[in-house]
């Protein structure tokens, strides 16, 4: 397959203007299946443009590997607080995830429940639209309501409105201490109730997940604070006890479900409905996990299962990350909303160069 890897933004814009058929946009290629179109790669758009630890600000080229970004931040004891998911275990892909790819799919890990999603930490973006026009939006400051927020609109758009070339993020300090607490629990209803209790407390829980057998809670901060809050949480949730391992990367990546020969779904829905759907899916034989206090449901279902049929009364949306079915991988929006999205795509990419794959 042809791969076009422009060395700079101007070359990228030129390649887009010269194109006459759709591209597969790729950063590290870890978050999408193999391309069946010519690849437009951001591998040449790399490097940190500006990093000001005292302003909690990072500006970086979109093709920069995530690992490199994390190293730069770690050197100043800072990090990307949205904890982007690594899609490789579930999708069986290889390569190096990029910061642009993480933002393009709004990849947000367990800390989403407290700190926010990738989109919440985005301060600005530069992208090249489907006519080869460079657009800058947002900036590098924490508060900015100047004009429409087209930068945040790119989060989760999967490049369908333009190819990301440069991104600015708010970063946060790495906490002094992290602790995980666990509670044995085998029903999703009780799991969500306990997670809600924890998340409704003032103890700033930064992770609340259920792995099928245990409720897992995470607290982060100064050492004394973490000790204090762990004690208080154990007081309001009897049976909660410190866990030795760090379960969060595996929960973030759906690692326990990945080896199963099943379809993998990620469902975003109201927390209490997460409990309802988890119960239904478990009865139907699926393997289920919950994150974000119940508002994110992971399911491994028998190949070809239409999970959406189980959630028609619950709201939210389901994405099939892995597997082939007769239904679309992404949840169809209601018609008037879909019309707005289609209208935006038509404006920013009138030739359909960035049309969603698959």
């Amino acid at each position: 397959m042809t791969v076009i890897a422009p060395a700079c933004e101007a070359e990228l814009a030129e390649a887009i203007r010269a194109a006459n058929g759709p591209f597969a946009i790729r950063g590290g290629g870890t978050r999408s299946p193999a391309a069946d179109r010519p690849v437009l790669s951001t591998a040449g758009l790399v490097g940190v443009v500006l990093y000001e630890p005292g302003a909690l600000t990072l500006v970086v080229k979109a093709g920069t590997p995530l690992a490199e970004v994390e190293d730069v931040l770690a050197a100043k004891n800072q990090r990307l607080a949205f904890e982007p998911m690594d899609h490789r275990p579930v999708l069986g892909t290889s390569g190096d995830p990029t910061i642009g790819g993480a933002l393009a799919v709004n990849a947000s890990g367990p800390r989403r429940v407290q700190a926010g999603a990738a989109r919440d930490f985005l301060l600005g973006a530069v992208f090249v639209d489907g006519e080869g026009t460079r657009v800058r939006n947002g900036g590098r400051v924490m508060k900015n309501v100047t004009g429409y927020d087209l930068a945040r609109l790119q989060a989760g758009a999967r490049g369908s409105l333009g190819v990301l070339t440069e991104l600015s993020f708010k970063v946060l300090p790495v906490p002094e201490r992290v602790a995980t607490l666990a509670l044995a629990c085998d029903t999703p209803g009780r799991a969500v109730a306990e997670m809600s209790r924890a998340l409704g407390s003032p103890y700033e829980v930064t992770g609340a997940a259920w792995d099928g057998a245990r409720v897992l809670l995470r607290i982060e901060g100064f050492a004394d604070s973490v000790a204090y809050r762990a004690g208080e949480l154990a007081r309001i949730i009897p049976g909660l006890a410190p866990a030795d391992e760090d379960p969060w990367p595996a929960l973030r990546d759906g690692a326990a479900l990945a080896p199963m020969e099943r379809d993998i779904w990620r469902v975003s829905l109201r927390a209490s409905h997460g409990a309802v759907l988890a119960e239904r899916l478990r009865e139907a034989g699926a393997a289920v996990q919950l994150d974000w206090g119940g508002a994110l449901l992971w399911a491994a279902t028998a190949p070809g299962t239409d999970l959406r049929a189980e959630m028609a009364d619950l709201g939210g949306h389901a994405t099939r990350l892995r597997g082939q079915g007769s239904t679309p991988a992404r949840h169809p929006d209601p018609a008037p909303v879909a019309a707005l999205a289609a209208g935006l795509r038509q404006k920013f990419d009138p030739r359909g160069l960035f049309a969603p794959e698959g």
Partner: protein
């Protein structure tokens, strides 16, 4: 500042427009008498006034849709309005526009503490959203200074922030879903009680679109458990430069206070006279608030004091009682009112990288001397959101224009050092003509395309946000 002249063809049809609105909406919903319309001639940017053609105050989403449908069919411009507290002229009417206000949509539709959400009608005031949940230990985080009066609809329109958004984020970070009526009367549900978008994140662009994409009538908001406690510390410094450097050091040290507020001497004196908060008489004052249990608060304040000591503060005073804390915040939150008692002023809202604070404060001082207009500074230092208040005399011919010129110079400075024109108030009409300082033609065109999709006839609040010359071919 120029507003488009009203379309005579629409003014000629005034009686017909009013009659159709009155026929479609319940009695008491449509205002068209000249005295009643005066109440809607401006918002908190009182320097500019223009009574609208008519005002509609619907009581339901369906009635909003009816009103919009009529205006859409008849090609009548619409100016959405929440509580009318915009400092940027976001709800300033034009003479040929129908103002559609959501002030009567104030109900709480649903509260769910387990899922930590509240669904409200958007005419509800910001503070009364917290009011609906605080007895149960929750709050709604964005806290603009106008929170007692401003409506959630306006908060969404302007993506409002507040003092505490250093920790909790602004409106866009706390908004989960909306019911919105498009200009043609279509009602759309976007988002909901779940956390992220299925396809395009349309909430991103709706929040902060200044009433140009639709009228939001209901909103699902994230509510948070109240912290165990919070305590501010006051620190006085001999210069703004030193205070600015202290802010940067605190942030870099990994302490994340919930708020870091800055005031300079003119502002401190005005607040002190107004609210008797016990502020020291110093060149620059920081109010830094931290949250947690008593021990957690002590620990964080110890770290902050340690950093501050290195900058030679003239005063450090920790609040020791709830009353003292309340007084400290009352002083800060009444800053605009306090300044208003002693002078006419124009409030700016540019944001800069925190590291540029000392430089920008110095340059503002130079501009103040150059223009011969006083400036009081009060702002959210932790996130670089400046609020210089330029003092002028509204009764002195030419003073407002001079003040606007100086304001434009300050905002250009904000952009020049890597910041932006507005951090939380919005562009409105006030900063509309400066948009080309921050954005290229292509950058602006990309934003206009979004409005083309949501409001193809460009009827909604169309004379705002973008320079009139830029939107010339699009507006009717």
């Amino acid at each position: 500042m120029e507003l488009p002249s009203p379309n005579p063809a629409i003014l000629d049809r005034r009686a017909e427009i009013v009659a159709r609105l009155k026929a479609a909406l319940p009695a008491g919903t449509v205002i068209d008498d000249p005295r009643g319309l005066v109440a809607y001639e401006c918002d908190a940017l009182t320097a500019y006034r223009c009574p609208p053609l008519a005002v509609a105050l619907p009581r339901s989403t369906q009635e909003v849709a009816e009103a919009l449908k009529i205006c859409h069919e008849m090609g009548v411009p619409v100016v959405p309005r929440g509580a009318g507290t915009s400092l940027a002229g976001g709800s300033l009417p034009t003479g040929d526009a129908v103002v559609i206000g959501v002030a009567r949509l104030t109900r709480v539709l649903e509260t769910d503490y387990a899922d930590r959400i509240i669904r409200v009608e958007t005419g509800r005031t910001n503070l009364s959203v917290t009011g609906a949940v605080e007895a149960d230990g929750f709050f709604y985080a964005p806290d603009p200074s106008s929170q007692l009066a401003c409506a959630i609809s306006g908060n969404i329109g302007m993506n409002s922030g507040g003092a505490h958004c250093l920790k909790y984020g602004v409106t866009t970070n706390n908004l989960l879903g909306v019911t919105m009526v498009l200009m043609d009367g279509t009602v759309v549900e976007i988002g909901g009680a779940h956390m992220d978008a299925g396809d395009l994140d349309l909430l991103s662009v709706i929040c902060g679109s200044e009433g140009q994409l639709g009228i939001v009538t209901e909103a699902t908001l994230r509510i948070l458990p109240k912290p165990e406690g919070a305590r501010p510390v006051l620190m006085g410094f001999g210069s703004s430069r030193v205070a600015g450097a202290c802010v940067s050091d605190i942030i870099e040290a990994g302490v994340l206070p919930v708020a870091i507020e800055f005031m300079d001497r003119p502002c401190i004196r005005a607040c002190e006279a107004f609210a008797h908060a016990g502020y020291p008489d110093v060149e620059a004052l920081l109010i830094i608030e931290v949250e947690g249990s008593p021990a957690e608060i002590d620990h964080q304040l110890r770290l902050i004091r340690g950093i501050a000591e290195r900058h030679g503060p003239e005063v450090i005073r920790e609040s020791t009682t709830a009353e003292e804390s309340a007084a400290i915040w009352l002083g800060r939150k009444s800053a605009f009112g306090a300044m208003g008692q002693i002078n006419d002023y124009m409030c700016l809202d540019g944001t800069i990288p925190v590291t540029e604070l000392p430089l920008v404060l110095e340059r503002i001082g130079e501009l103040s001397a150059q223009y011969g207009l006083g400036v009081a500074n009060v702002f959210h230092a932790g996130d670089g959101n400046m609020h210089p208040l330029i003092l002028f005399d509204a009764n002195k011919p030419g003073d407002l224009e001079l003040c606007e010129q100086m304001g434009a110079d300050i905002l250009k400075l904000c952009v020049e050092v890597g910041g932006c024109l507005t951090g939380e108030h919005g562009v409105g009409v006030e900063k509309r003509d400066l948009m080309t300082v921050q954005f290229s033609e292509d950058d602006l065109e990309a934003q206009l395309k979004v409005k083309d999709v949501f409001d193809p006839k460009w009827l909604l609040n169309a004379a705002k946000v973008f320079p009139l010359a830029v939107t010339e071919g699009r507006r009717p």
